[in-house]
């Protein structure tokens, strides 16, 4: 579960240019003009594959990670390091496709309650210790232990015995059988036909015997893993992390780069620092500050140094569907159709954002249903009709809250304007700190709309639908309790829940996706339980003069293991 705090920083000038825009009835969905989208920076194609040659030092900047030890590695920065130090059971490609990692194959029993992973022979940790099923069991238990207080161990919550370990009642995962060195047998307390997808999260990494318990400081700062890169010396806190190629890597193709130098930048201005560093020749890879996106694209795209990729995330408005005024489908659709996504994308975002026409984004190509969100089009006349039907008369009050400090001020202001203009609503618009926003969403009486964004952890539509829309994910036993789960809007539809349950119990991927698509048609197409706004898209600068094979992987990290000198 990955909630996204920051978004996009915009300029006031851009906001002003919005004002005359868009009164006409214009679809958001069909923004195709001869195959070229009218708004949204187009994606750059995956780079052509260049055969690797060993050598080279690749340099980039990040902010100080919370942890690089897999037991607690969590945000983008920590994940960048950990995913290169460790190889898990499976690999996930930039497009969400699954390929073998340490496991050569995986199968489940018919009801998906037991999984068998067959492991490669002869792969080792950086210290030469063999990677076997015991090493996986060790790594999982190390993270699941109560004393570890891991903030990412919840990814294991389906494994039998996990609850007992979290409660401190057990020191082993009873559901993990490592009796045969090349076979890992996992029994689930909650059957899930997509369990294997979870195992690419770094918390499922194997660890060697020297790792010790989770509070082993030496290992926390210099993890010994089984990935394509290894630590060249301990983590220099607040200064940097240096990785070097693991020459004994056998779980996949060896890395090409001799070294990766990761410099730690101040968190206040990280994107600016990366961008400055790219410009002054310090870094080979950089994120960009949002206000500079347009300008930077104009400079760097002609040089072939610009990377643009849709990633598995969605920006949306979270409506409170059990409390008035948005407790009717018509009211939510009225709000959605009164928002001119194209005008905002053009005016406020300088064309960088892509209006959403579905909740499950196109970064999951198998599952994406273009246009499933029928109310994602801009149609103020229909919006007025729907509003009338829903009793959302001009002058009615709707709460709209966003978090400050994440660059959401301008576009939320534009949405407010449009709701006032197109529906005559009295929008009670307010910005609060992020923790307060989350807290307010949870409250039993919460009403109106809230700014929200979500990034997928696993390459499955289920990772959008289940946590954000299923009844079980509300996390409250009664309407008068705070919602402690991620389904803050409290959408609950037995038919939807049933479709998800059916999907989780369907071993065949094609059939499973079909079920998820039906579920999305129900919750988004019919009920509009979330109001999709923009698909998540990431932009990077990459030094293509010197390096090749640079791209963004599924977790939005650079594909370090493939990068090579030209």
């Amino acid at each position: 579960m990955r909630k996204i705090r920051t978004g996009t920083v915009l300029t006031l000038a851009a906001l002003l240019s919005l004002v005359p825009a868009g009164c006409a009835k214009r679809p958001n969905v069909g923004t195709q003009n001869g195959g070229v989208p009218l708004v949204g920076f187009p994606q750059t194609p995956p780079p052509p594959h260049v055969p690797g040659k060993p050598g080279g030092v690749f340099r980039l900047g990040i902010v100080e990670p919370v942890a690089i030890d897999p037991y607690n590695s969590q945000e983008s920065e920590g994940n960048l390091v950990t995913e290169n130090l460790f190889t898990e059971l499976i690999n996930v490609g930039p497009d969400g496709s699954v390929s073998p990692g340490v496991a050569t194959s995986w199968t489940s029993n018919p009801d998906c309650s037991q999984w068998i992973f067959t492991l490669q022979h002869g792969t080792t940790f950086h210290n030469g210790e063999p990677v076997d099923s015991v090493a996986f069991k060790r790594g999982w238990e190390r993270a699941a232990a109560r004393s570890a207080a891991s903030e990412v161990a919840y990814h294991m919550n389906e494994v039998q015995g996990f609850d007992a370990m979290q409660a401190g009642a057990a020191d082993h995962l009873s559901g993990v059988d490592a009796s045969a060195p090349d076979r890992l047998v996992v029994t689930l307390a909650h059957p899930d036909c997509e369990f294997y997808l979870r195992t690419f999260k770094t918390v499922f990494s194997p660890v060697p015997t020297v790792a010790g318990p989770a509070d082993n400081k030496a290992y926390n700062d210099q993890p010994i893993g089984n990935g394509p890169f290894m630590m060249a010396g301990p983590w220099q806190h607040d200064r940097g992390i240096r990785l070097k190629r693991f020459d004994g890597y056998a779980a996949g193709p060896k890395a090409n780069l001799a070294e990766v130098d990761i410099t730690i930048l101040p968190s206040q201005s990280a994107a600016q620092g990366e961008y400055d560093g790219f410009n002054n020749g310090t870094f080979d890879w950089a994120r960009l500050p949002t206000p500079l996106l347009s300008q930077a694209r104009a400079t760097y795209q002609p040089r072939g140094e610009w990377i643009s990729k849709k990633t598995a995330g969605i920006n949306y408005l979270l409506p409170m569907v059990t409390t008035p005024p948005l407790n009717s489908v018509a009211a939510r659709k009225a709000i959605s159709e009164a928002i001119d996504r194209v005008a905002i994308a053009r005016g406020v975002f300088q064309g960088s954002q892509v209006p959403a026409d579905a909740f499950v984004p196109p970064a999951l190509p198998d599952a994406y249903q273009s246009g499933v969100c029928t109310a994602c089009r801009y149609d103020p006349a229909d919006a007025k009709k729907l509003a009338q039907q829903a009793g959302l008369a001009p002058g009615s009050t709707v709460n709209f809250q966003f978090n400050t400090g994440g660059g959401h001020e301008e576009w939320t202001a534009a949405v407010t304007q449009q709701l006032k203009r197109n529906l005559g609503l009295n929008v009670n618009y307010s910005g609060v700190p992020f923790t307060d926003l989350l807290n307010n969403e949870q409250q039993p009486g919460a009403s109106g709309i809230f700014r929200a964004a979500w990034g997928a952890d696993y390459p499955t539509p289920g990772n959008f639908l289940q946590p954000l829309l299923s009844t079980g994910a509300i996390g409250a036993n009664s309407p008068s309790q705070p919602a402690t789960g991620d389904n803050r809007g409290r959408y609950s539809n037995p038919r939807f829940d049933q479709l998800l349950a059916q999907a989780a119990a369907t071993p065949d991927k094609g059939q499973r996706i079909t079920l998820y698509q039906q579920a999305e048609q129900l919750a988004i197409g019919q009920d509009l339980a979330e109001i999709p706004l923009w698909f998540r898209q990431q932009f990077r600068l990459a030094n293509t003069m010197k390096f090749a094979n640079m791209y963004l992987d599924f977790a939005e990290e650079p594909t370090l293991a493939e990068i090579t000198l030209r």
Binding site: M1, R2, K3, I4, R5, R59, G61, E64, V66, A67, Q74, E75, R146, S147, A149, S150, E151, A153, Y154, Q166, D215, K217, N220, Q236, H237, D238, R239, G240, R242, D261, T263, I264, L265, P266, S267, Q268, G273, E274, D276, G277, N280, G281, T282, F283, N403, F434, T435, L438, T484, D486
Partner: protein, 310 residues
């Protein structure tokens, strides 16, 4: 002297108590450090374990007394984010800050005193006007502007390292310290020049200077030995306070130059709501400040024998 120092140390302990209590309450008011902040959604059970681990489930007075108890043993605890020893974080960053503060002070005393003396001796000359005008300007321009301009146009030239630079590029410490030190020194140098000019003019009018001149002492000795020594008193006071402030970490300048001192450490800790680090930096700043002002008081007595400490 001994009684004076003892009294000042007793005062220092009191100041430290008040300061730690204030910061303790302030960080407590920031809210629960283990609550979800969005980037990381922390399961409630894990939050509870973390809170218990750091004793945050205990009443506030108990927490504060425990903290003080540990402080007596120089135990600053571990930080909320990475569970690193706060003392080792200080050990890494404090020397950098001390270095930066000393170089900055050296620069600003050098520039300030020379400019001030020249302005006073050559009153109403072109040099005097130049010093007065440029010091007004320097006081008016905010530090961050100077810092950003230097980062934008000067870093990367000659010996000054680029910002940001890869951590693998090693540079001698004085290459790294010069620009931030200069940034910090400009405002202080301007203040010192003005103080120096004012007090020098006053001293130059006093009887003993006239006596010295009438004895036939060369002007160099009159100014350099007799007048300077006495007009340094306000400057010493200012430098003492300024050094204390700088030793507490120059938050803005260190952050702009990505200089790994306690100011930068504090900036990051505040952003992450990392109370153990905030507390430690404040404690260190208070201790350094109190010690320095004690030192300044002792220096007074040396500079002006009429001042007696007891």
């Amino acid at each position: 002297m001994t009684r004076f120092v003892a009294r000042r140390i007793a005062q220092a302990v009191l100041v430290l108590l008040v300061a730690t209590l204030a910061i303790f309450l302030a960080t407590f008011a920031l809210g629960d450090p283990f609550a979800s902040t969005g980037e990381k959604v922390v399961p409630p059970e894990v939050q509870a374990i973390d809170r218990a681990k750091f004793g945050l489930d205990k009443p506030l007075p108990v927490q504060y007394l425990t903290y003080l108890g540990n402080l007596v043993h120089l135990d600053f605890g571990v930080d909320f984010d990475q569970r690193r020893q706060v003392s080792s974080m200080l050990a890494e960053t404090l020397p950098n800050t001390i270095r930066l503060a000393l170089v900055a002070i050296a620069l600003d005393v050098l520039i300030g005193v020379i400019a001030g003396v020249i302005a006073a001796v050559k009153r109403y000359s072109f040099t005097d006007v130049l010093v007065t005008v440029s010091s007004t300007l320097a006081i008016g321009v905010p530090t961050f502007v100077i810092g950003l301009v230097l980062v934008g146009y000067v870093s990367g030239l000659w010996i000054f390292p680029v910002v940001p630079r890869s951590f693998t590029v090693q540079v001698p410490w004085w290459h790294e310290v010069l620009l931030p030190a200069f940034t910090l020194a400009i405002i202080d140098a301007a203040f010192i020049a003005r103080l120096m000019r004012g007090s020098m003019l006053e001293v130059l009018r006093s009887d003993y200077i006239r006596t010295a001149r009438s004895k036939g002492l060369p002007e160099r000795v009159v100014i350099g030995k007799h007048a300077m020594r006495n007009s340094m008193i306000p400057v010493v006071t200012y430098v003492g306070i300024s050094l204390g402030v700088l030793m507490g970490g120059a938050i803005i300048t260190e952050t702009i130059f990505q200089y790994n001192g306690i100011g930068y450490l504090l900036a990051r800790a505040i952003q992450a709501n990392n109370a153990p680090v905030i507390m430690a930096v404040v404690v260190v700043s208070v201790v350094v400040f109190v010690l320095l002002s004690l030192l300044v008081d002792i220096l007074y007595a040396y500079l002006d024998p009429r001042i007696r400490l007891d």
